[in-house]
């Protein structure tokens, strides 16, 4: 068995209908799960940038990236996994939490430690926004979990190479 790793793959695609299902199909057709996916237009509105996180056998992921390249609407693919791909990954999480007078101070302390923001307040709840790498977000969610989380929404990652290298 070949090694299994988590892969962060960025794909630049034509902003056309059906692209997403073609790309998702390459993964699902091989029984691969997409752990997270984010899509949005780039500076050029005719193209979109996708960031896909998947876990799998390196050889099969390499096949998938080659297959992605073969799709007619795909312009460019980068698999950030590996040493030669020094890059930054970021994600955003929104957390809605029970905000009783008794635990508000504790919540705000956590938000400060993780450099988050309170973006919505109601008599009984706070909504908090935190951005960062996956580990930081996981740690934040774990820290405030005991305080009573009502809902979590994570954006899925976006990734970008450091330095001059560019997908677009």
């Amino acid at each position: 068995m070949a090694a299994k790793h988590r892969h962060t793959i960025s794909v630049l695609v034509e902003n056309k209908f059906g692209v997403l299902s073609r790309i998702a199909g390459l993964f699902s057709g091989r029984g691969f799960n997409i752990e997270s996916l984010s899509v949005a237009p780039t500076l050029d509105a005719t193209t979109s940038r996708m960031t896909i996180i998947t876990v799998g056998d390196d050889k099969i992921v390499e096949q998938i990236t080659k297959q992605l390249n073969k799709l007619i609407d795909v312009i460019k693919v980068i698999d950030f996994t590996g040493d030669d791909h020094d890059h930054v990954e970021r994600e955003i999480v929104l957390v809605k939490i029970n905000a009783e007078p008794s635990n508000r101070a504790e919540i705000l302390r956590m938000v400060e430690i993780f450099r988050g923001k309170v973006v919505d307040v109601s008599p009984k709840t706070y909504m908090i926004e935190v951005t960062g790498a996956e580990g930081k977000l996981n740690a934040f969610v774990e820290m405030i979990r005991p305080l009573g989380i009502l809902e979590v929404a994570r954006s899925g990652k976006v990734a970008m190479s450091r330095g001059k290298k560019s997908l677009t």
Binding site: V13, G18, S21, G25, Q63, K66, Q67, K70, I72, I75
Partner: protein, 562 residues
Amino acid sequence: MKMSGARILVESLKKLGVDQIFGYPGGVVLPIYDELFKAPELRHYLVRHEQGGVHAADGFARATGRVGVALVTSGPGATNAVTGIATAYMDSIPLVVFTGQVPTALIGNDAFQEADIIGITRPCVKHSYLVRDVRELAQTIAEAFYIASTGKPGPVLVDLPKDVVTEETEFVWPEAVSLRSYNPNVVAHVKQIERLADALEKAKRPVIYVGGGMIAANGSAELKKLAELTKAPVTETLMGLGSLPTDHPLNLGMLGMHGTYRANMAMSHADLVIALGARFDDRVTGKLDEFAVHATIAHVDIDPTAISKNVKCHIPVVGDLKDALVKLNADLKKRKVDWKGNRADWTAQIAEWHAANALAYAKKKNVIKPQFVLETINEITKGDAIYCTEVGQNQMWAAQFLKLNGPRTFLTSGGLGTMGYGFPAAIGAQAAFPAKRVFDIAGDASIQMNIQELGTAMQYRLPVIIVILNNGFLGMVRQWQQLFYGKRYAYSCTEFQPDFVKLAEAYGAFGVRVTKPDEVKGAIEKALASGRPAIVDCVVDREENVYPMVPAGAPITKMLLA
């Protein structure tokens, strides 16, 4: 000038040089049919089932190298076409399939005869389009043909909602197509070609392993030069058959599960395997960890995903095969090498394997052996024919025994293995080449999967000769059951069969049955002379097996011999 979408479709096809299409009408494509009515120069063959229509377009494409075109209606018309599309996809055949669709406003409403054919076919097309605006139609058609026929070819589906074909716009034909996300003209790296030439110069025991990519690239002439210059033997996959004439002294025949003894032995002992437009399919490699273990693997392919997919490749060359071979041959010619001397031992070894003659079969006086039927066909045609096959034992015997003179003369469903492919494909090939003799080598079961196309063959006077190797079994299934399932023939015996002679006659075709070896030749000659589509029903030895055979998952040296 303003034109309806339907008219734009017809005008676009004419611009593309399309003169024959295979189709079947229905509600939403009636506007298109109405335009076809006014354009008799675009010949439309009315098939009897949409699957047959797509296979016919596929046979046309394989025989000519041009794009095959099919047109079907929405819903059931489109779903009936799916097996044909998947068949073409697996074998990388250039097709453009037009499907009707319900009007855009109704899409997603479970409208009458609506099917999400884009979604259904997504994993088995090279690309697909749902045209949503008549102003995009001409450009889309141009792109579809461009994508189908360039790079690694494949089927492209164009879904046409009814309102798009009835609305009008100015017809503007794009004279050139280019897509920033699709660059099919890959030119092989000279450095890699040089490495390949070096390896070939050093090799003691090279084998050239040729797949369907050779046919697609029209590379046969260069292949012949390469083999003859370097005295390297050539083996072909099922899809590569005909790349080199069968009787060429360097041709080892097919390799793999039902390959020749010498081809499989040569692959297993080679020190250099040069794969040309082949993809190391499991039917070829057998047990992967024992495949060509002594060999450096070189692989020339237009498709980077084919390289190192199943077998690790040491010398990858990505690019157009013909172009790469022209350059390789030019490089090799400059080298001073005693090719013949270098090959003496290898050539002798291969001759020894050849002497084992694993294709030999026991002839019988009163029973027709299926292999004998094929040898008789060789005798009659001298290779001047186009052969299509169905799937099963008939297909494998055809691959082993028919003598081919060149490429595009052996049309078979390799990747998908679609029973029912051969006859409609033969119709497409015959439509492309009216003066050629076209055969469908059939099994008694496969032929019944698209037998309705006899109607098409009769209507358009396409005198395809169907030769049924009639064993009264799903023969290949029975062979596996005999060898691997303790002879338990579970539901592989077609206990009822139609009278194929009467069936032919019911259509007005020629029908004849033979039961003795000495009747075979006369019957086929009579069928050819009839000038009509014909069925030659050859009642053959019921439990004959295809040998050699490598059991699935075994190394290819472990061949079961007769």
